[in-house]
Amino acid sequence: MIKITNLEKYYETEEVQTIALNKLSFEVKEGEFAAIMGPSGCGKSTLLNILGLLDDPDGGSYLFNGIEVAGYNESKRAQLRKHNIGFVFQSFNLIDELTVFENVELPLIYTGVKPAERKERVHEVLEKMQIMHRRKHFPQQLSGGQQQRVAVARAVVNKPKLILADEPTGNLDSTNGNEVMDLLTELNEAGTTIIMVTHSEHDAKFSHRIIRMLDGQKVTENILV
């Protein structure tokens, strides 16, 4: 599903050039659950942004479903992104001014789904995440675990092929964290490919494979399953 070869990304400030990704190569197959680990600043988030088509690599190749997307412009990337990829962030990134229902509904609005169908699909996914009773609440009225469940609901409502999770349990206690990891595992078992960035060895054990990074390069790869 995803194949990156010699992927490069630099950040430049006025004085220094930082190499975030240094000729990184790996592959993630469809239906796989991969965890990416490494210390802060090793390039994990940069990698996730590029994989999520939010950012552009400075060099190398990125095949998404066999299509080269490295040179795509913003609008082409956005098109591909909204139909194929769901995001789960550490800080949830829910919109404070919108209710739970409205937050989850957003991706459907942007992909042009009709209102009646939107309602049905949002309800379906909220049921599945067990937060249906909270659908009229605003994010601030929810606990961290509930907020992340909403975020996951939002990530999957469009039935994406790939979910990118950036430290999904980072802001949660262990009980809520485990619940979220169980959700992700369920989704993976249902066929969704998941790539997760994490600091937590515990969370990483839920995946099939751990890719460890340092200074923008892959150092090891442990296959768990």
Partner: protein
């Protein structure tokens, strides 16, 4: 401590360059506008105040409604002055002025024209301030033949010779005047301007006892502290006592019966109010005035602009609160008291205001020439240093500082430090006050846009209105009256030019400088009303392209036609000639008694006065004299002018050739409205610019506040137009609300303005739509300018800061 406040304030201003540039530039526009308009208003409202006795001088005016005709005149009957002075002890002095048109002096075989001449009572020089610089300063106008002349005229007539005792021949030797004194030119800020005054003692008409003809400007000097309104209340008794008997004699009806159907009265007008109440433009005002309404309009525009600039200041400061909140929290945590913070914020707004004042001064300096041109003034920079403007500027600085800095000062300084430090303080987008202020700004902007559209429409309407005559390609040579005997040969010579279509001999014109003549009209013995008289020849109707509806034009075939008239439709109706007016007769009241006139034709009503007034009854009499009116059929006017000028010179009269174009004179009739349109356009543009600067600032903050939301939405697949829509929606809503307030208000005010025109447009629904469209377009453009940048930003950047 104070030094620390200033230091911090300066640093804050430098740090928030963006906001403060918007604030300061907006404020400086507002202040510069205020200063310019203040100059204008002060100038216009200071007319006649240079007279030491200004507060005790009033002018007597005449208002009446006779036979349905509204009469209001700045001149009254000859005996009014003398009568009021002797009847009422509070009148210390009553003096008269009688203006003479087109005067002419001859000295040493040299002819002089183009000066303003009036007879005055000798007391006039004591009631008004005159500066006699040469000759008899005690009572120079005692002798019947004495005149006093201005310094400029003295130089013109006599050069370096001593003017005192010199004799001037008046009107081709009609009279001889002796110069007894020279006066300093009358201030431009007087409601009259004359170059020569002659003694009323030598003017026979001044002794007339007629209470029927009004020709004299009459001024009363009242006892210190007496109220003119009280005197005015006593004036009807005077009308009863003196005018009554004469009305019976003239009209054959008793005064009480006359009064049942008509109104006649004398009224008083304070000297200092004359310039701002020009209600007598075509009936005796000595100089065009400035309607006080326009001063209110300009004042309101200036004030609005300043308010909008202040609102920007308030709005941007509170919108920036989230940025400043942390600073406030830390200061409070460290022990700063609320009033210290208030001082801090006020000093910031004070510094910004001072910078804006300096910039405003610079703007005024740069744009004063443009403004002078626009307003028809000659202000200089030093005029800004007059006491009242300096004081008002200081007051403005204070008000703006408090208004602009006060709200943020109190608002920000009341923030709970614990909330800010825990990052729980958010300035939500739902600030009702801020929304209200944005609505207010756009009420003004949309209202002004609406007003401008209507002003443009009305002026275009006047420009294109079917006037009933054709004003284009008409050349007017009023001076042709001076050629006398040779006029006909001049006309014949000019007619030879193929570029000339027709020529008529008349001094009566529907626009610009014209002779005016009115007479009372009687049907049988019964007085009807006064009507305008045009003295014309048989070429008048074809030359001006008037439309003859019934009957015939004047014609040589019918011999002498002095007792034949052509009347306009209004006159025909007014006289009750509904069916077949041709052949009907009526009587014109003349000095030599009545003259019976027979109607030979009716012309379609044409606008022989400005469109401010309804068309009144008009009588065309065959009595050619005066100037020459030429209809040309060429666009190449300059070669025609050259040819006419050479013919003019061949006739060998000493006057230089001078001419006007009728369409230019017509345009000049609406100069006041055009001036208003231009001034209003410029300041409306600036007001909208300042309002949009504020809007730009607010969008900037909205975009900053919602940067995370925008990022999330983009990650979820939102497009750039969707993000722009998201950011615009809230503001566009406010602007739509502003229309709901602006349009009824604008409609009401513009209806008032349009009342001034007897012929006017109706305000159309699409004008509102157009104004709404323009306002929305400008506002939306401003919003897009900013929100586009926010919309195309890479969401990774905004989300990474988490």
């Amino acid at each position: 401590m104070i030094r620390n406040y200033f230091k911090i304030a300066f640093r804050n201003i430098l740090k928030n360059k963006g906001i403060y540039s918007i604030n300061i530039i907006g404020l400086s526009f507002g202040l510069a506008t205020c200063l310019l308009i203040l100059l204008f208003i002060l100038d216009e409202s200071s007319y006649d105040k240079f007279n030491q006795k200004a507060d005790d001088i009033v002018r007597v005016v005449f208002k009446a409604n006779v036979g349905g005709e509204q009469i209001s005149e700045a001149v009254v009957m000859p005996p009014v002055a003398q009568t009021l002075e002797s009847e009422f002890p509070e009148v210390i002095d009553a003096v008269r002025l009688r203006k003479m048109n087109d005067p002419k002096f001859t000295y040493n075989n040299k002819h002089f024209r183009d000066f303003e001449f009036a007879y005055i009572d000798s007391g006039f020089l004591e009631v008004f301030d005159f500066d006699i610089i040469k000759g008899d300063s005690a009572n120079p106008l005692e002798n019947p033949n004495s005149i006093i002349i201005s310094q400029d005229q003295a130089n013109l007539y006599f050069g370096t010779e001593d003017p005192i005792g010199k004799n001037l021949s008046f009107e081709e030797g009609d009279k001889q005047f002796t110069v007894t004194a020279v006066f300093q030119e009358i201030s431009k800020k007087s409601h009259f301007e004359f170059d020569v005054f002659a003694s009323m003692n030598g003017y026979e008409y001044a002794n007339s006892t007629s209470w029927v003809n009004s020709d004299f400007h009459t001024y009363l000097l009242l006892k210190d502290g007496s109220k003119y309104k009280e005197l005015e209340a006593k004036l009807p008794t005077i009308i009863n006592k003196y005018m009554g008997p004469q009305i019976r004699e003239a009209l054959g009806v008793s005064y009480s019966k006359f009064k049942d159907e008509n109104e006649v009265g004398l009224f008083l007008q304070p000297l200092t109010a004359i310039h701002l109440n020009p209600g007598f433009v075509s009936s005796g005002d000595l100089k065009p005035g400035m309607d006080v309404k326009y001063l209110y309009i300009f004042g309101a525009v200036a004030l609005f602009m300043l308010l909008i600039a202040c609102i920007n200041f308030m709005n941007l400061a509170t919108a920036a609160a989230s940025k400043r909140a942390k600073e406030v929290g830390i200061r409070k945590a460290l022990g700063s008291k609320q009033n210290q913070l208030i001082k801090q914020f006020l000093i910031e707004s004070f510094i910004a205001t001072i910078i804006a004042v300096v910039l405003a001064g610079l703007l005024v300096f740069l744009f004063l020439p443009t403004f002078n041109q626009l307003a028809g003034k000659a202000f200089e920079i030093k005029d800004l240093l007059q006491f009242s403007i300096v004081i008002l500027t200081l007051i403005l600085i204070f008000i703006v500082t408090v208004l602009a800095g006060g709200y943020p000062a109190f608002y920000l300084s009341s923030i709970q430090p614990i909330l800010v430090l825990k990052s729980k303080f958010t300035t939500s987008g739902k600030s009702n006050l801020r929304n209200g202020l944005v609505i207010f700004q756009f009420v003004i902007s949309a209202g002004l846009i609406l007003a401008i559209i209507i002003v443009y429409q009305q002026l275009a309407f006047i420009q294109n209105k079917d006037l009933g005559y054709n004003k284009d390609h008409i050349l007017v040579i009023r001076d042709a009256q001076l050629i006398g005997e040779q006029r006909q040969s001049f006309i014949n010579q000019v007619l030879e030019d193929p570029k000339v279509k027709s020529i008529t001999n008349s001094s009566f014109l529907p626009a610009g400088e014209t002779d005016v003549s009115m007479s009372g009209v009687l049907l049988g013995d019964e007085y009807q009303r006064r009507m305008f008289i045009y003295n014309v020849d048989e070429y008048y109707i074809p030359t001006l392209k008037l439309k003859l509806l019934e009957g015939r034009n004047f014609s040589k075939e019918f011999g002498a036609e002095q007792d034949k008239v052509i009347i306009n439709e209004t006159a025909s109706k007014s006289l009750g000639f509904y069916e077949d007016p041709i052949g009907k007769t009526f009587t014109q009241d003349t000095n030599e008694g009545g003259q019976l006139l027979t109607v030979i034709g009716v012309v379609k009503d044409f606008h022989f006065k400005s469109l401010h007034r309804k068309i009144e009854p008009l009588i065309l009499k065959h009595n050619p004299y005066g100037g020459v009116i030429i209809r040309t059929n060429t666009a190449d006017v300059s070669s025609l002018l050259t040819s006419i000028e050479s013919k003019w010179q061949k006739i060998n009269i000493k006057q230089p050739f001078s001419y006007t174009f009728l369409n230019e004179s017509f345009d000049n009739t609406y100069l006041k409205e055009k001036k208003m349109r231009d001034i209003l356009s410029v300041f409306t543009g600036l007001t909208i610019l300042v309002a949009c600067m504020g809007l730009f600032g607010l969008v900037t903050f909205a975009a900053e506040r919602r940067v995370r939301e925008i990022g999330i939405r983009k990650v979820l697949g939102s497009s750039v137009p969707e993000i722009i829509g998201l950011l615009s929606k809230d503001f566009i809503k406010l602007i739509l609300v502003s229309f709901v307030i602006a349009f009824p208000l604008g409609y009401f005010l513009m209806e008032q303005w349009l009342q001034d025109f007897a012929y006017r447009i109706e305000i159309n629904w699409w004008v509102f739509l157009f104004a709404a469209f323009i306002t929305t377009l400008i506002a939306f453009g401003t919003i897009v300018l900013k929100s586009f940048k926010a919309a195309i930003a890479n969401p990774v950047k905004s989300l990474r800061t988490e």
